[in-house]
């Protein structure tokens, strides 16, 4: 049996080492909101020369304005949506398209609002707070001690902060955009993180009952050892799926999968190396007070 609890300071330092730059980037640069949140412009074009395929247009448009979507709206008519498109760049884009794909005419151009409002974010946050409150109370009741509820929620916040912070770093260096998918990824990781933590806590609860002679630190340590294989194996199956999607799944969902990968890794790490050691720290603090 490895004495994991002995090195708990190292785990907290490691977490801090990731959380600090994450928070720094999040505060300094924030996220890079996509057209889902900011809106953008919509341009409808008709090619008056020969036939033009959606794929060909998509390629040219993507090269000029990354993150553009192209949809066919009729014979040789296309709707182009882009975040950073104004009158001037629209004219420029049309010239480029005319050069490469044939004569083109503008059917309409308008700035469009976001598809996701501020309200969605606000209400999702209310939902998350409510869910966190429920988890705190439910875990505290099921494990008959409030420290389990609080530590599980702390580990969940730890994972969320790292996920969003890492995404902020990725947006600064690789242009990752915060879109509706990031909202889904955060929600997925929230539930995964708690799920994983509860499995470890369940073992602690059981060991406490079965081995009353052990100290609290020993109980937690034994439980970590016993659940580690399961944690790693379970995360591996998820990581296999995510890696396959990341490498083979195409451009559109790459950052979504990236966010899920980061979340799965920190979620697994935090259950064993944050949520469980936090319990020991809590217990020790209380004992010192007495």
């Amino acid at each position: 049996m490895i004495n994991f609890i002995k090195y708990r300071t190292i785990y907290f330092l490691l977490s801090l080492l990731v959380i600090l730059p994450s928070s720094y980037f999040l505060i300094r640069y924030g996220l890079n909101p996509s057209a889902d949140f900011t809106g953008g412009a919509l341009l409808e074009l008709r090619f008056t020369g020969g036939a033009v395929s959606q794929a060909a247009l998509n390629e040219v448009a993507q090269a000029k304005l990354p993150g553009t979507t192209v949809q066919q709206s009729g014979v040789n008519s296309f709707i182009i949506r882009a975040q950073k498109l104004d009158q001037a760049s629209s004219v420029k884009l049309q010239q480029d398209l005319a050069d490469q794909l044939g004569p083109v005419e503008e059917k309409r151009f308008s700035s469009v609002g976001p598809t996701l409002g501020q309200e969605l974010i606000k209400k999702t946050i209310i939902g998350i707070i409510l869910a966190a409150g429920f988890i705190l109370v439910y875990v505290a009741i099921r494990f008959k001690d409030k420290k389990y509820g609080i530590c599980a929620v702390l580990a969940m916040l730890h994972d969320t902060l790292i996920l969003i912070g890492t995404y902020s770093i990725a947006s600064v260096y690789f242009g990752a955009q915060a879109d509706s998918l990031l909202v889904t990824a955060v929600l997925t990781i929230l539930s995964f993180s708690v799920h994983d933590t509860i499995v470890v806590y369940d073992r602690i609860r059981e060991t406490l009952n079965n081995e009353p002679h052990l100290s609290y630190g020993e109980v937690v340590n034994r439980s970590i050892n016993q659940t580690l294989t399961r944690s790693i194996n379970n995360s591996l199956t998820i990581i296999f799926m995510l890696l396959a999607l990341f490498l083979l799944g195409g451009e559109t969902i790459r950052w979504f999968i990236f966010a899920l990968l980061i979340g799965t890794i920190t979620g697994t790490y935090s259950s064993t190396f944050t949520a469980a050691p936090l319990l020991v720290v809590w217990e020790n603090l209380i004992n010192k007070k007495r």
């Binding site: 809106g39 889904t184 199956t237 890696l243 979504f256």
Partner: protein
Amino acid sequence: MILVLLAAGIAINLWSAKTLKFGLDIVGGSHLLLEADMSAINPGDRESALNSLKTVVAKRVDLYGVAEPVIQTAITPDSYRLIVELPGVTDINQAIELIGKTAQLDFRENVATDSATSGQMIFVSTGLTGSDLTKAAVTFNQQQAGSQPTVSLEFTNEGAQKFAAITQRNVGKPLAIFLDDQLVTAPIVNEPILDGRAVISGQFTTDNASQLVIQLNAGALPVPTKIIEQTNISASLGSAAVNASVRAGIVGLGLVMGFMILVYRLNGLLADIALLIYGLLTLAVYRLIPVTLTLPGVAGFILSMGMAVDANILIFERLKEELKAGKPFGVAMHLGFGRAWDAIKDANITTIVVSLILLNPFNFNWLNSSGLVRGFALTLLIGVILSLVTGIVITRNLMRLTYFKKINQ
């Protein structure tokens, strides 16, 4: 039991008339352009009027049962428009009718009879309108089989007071109900109605009664609106992107299944069978509900296959421990399932409740009603519940069958 589930899963997927529903990114859909008539609106308030128009339209689309629409405002210097894109709507005319109608309900009382036009009644507005409603519903007269549908209304407290006052002073007289300035019905008030409930019995068909109910529940459009364009649009991603994810999913699934066999041998194989059943059942449920799948939705489904084996891993690790402690196989298996269940139960109850909070099934105003988050919550809920069934019930029975002799030793 396993065979029944397996057969049901295969049957629904192969022969069901219900096809999987895909989102705009995968199959495209209808693109509607609505123009709001802002002539009566103060120039400074036009943008916010357009935003409230968007909210009402979004609500109507949601109540109509179309998931994953795109609804966005489109402003040019001289026009205020709304773009509405609906995936896979079969009856587009009905959708247009539903979205574009103002649906301003108002109650009017009879003040005089116009002698010039041979006894036509003149009605004036009472100030009671559709905004005084809390709920509308389609109802049928229960005493009469095959009766016409009616629309029942429930007023807010304030609305109920107004309605009581109006009916009190109009006993024996007609009270007219107008929808967008068209007379729907003008029943005679028999007695004052004090409980804030009313029923409209016009010449409704089931279709237009439910349409009116959706419009009343979502609210009237704040500005007159007309549909100026309707086109079909192609998928934004195309089949290549979908094929790529499906291929990735198959590779990932292969890795997961191989891993399970490598680590847990025969048990792993049994878990793999349960996992395949999970996949089939989930797709079947997606068809039945139906769930609209966008590309991220497909990715979410693939991810859920990776998570679904969790219960099995927990159980198998537990089984190993019990066997190591020297227990006979039958006892170890019993204990493995029993003890793993404690952990699985607590972990999954929290996930189920979290998904219910996000799903907001009772339509609380202060919680999310957006399609995006709800769609996610729905797939999460389906995934958790089905993976419990396949991961525990099916695996357990498969193990009982396989280790029949070993267990009874």
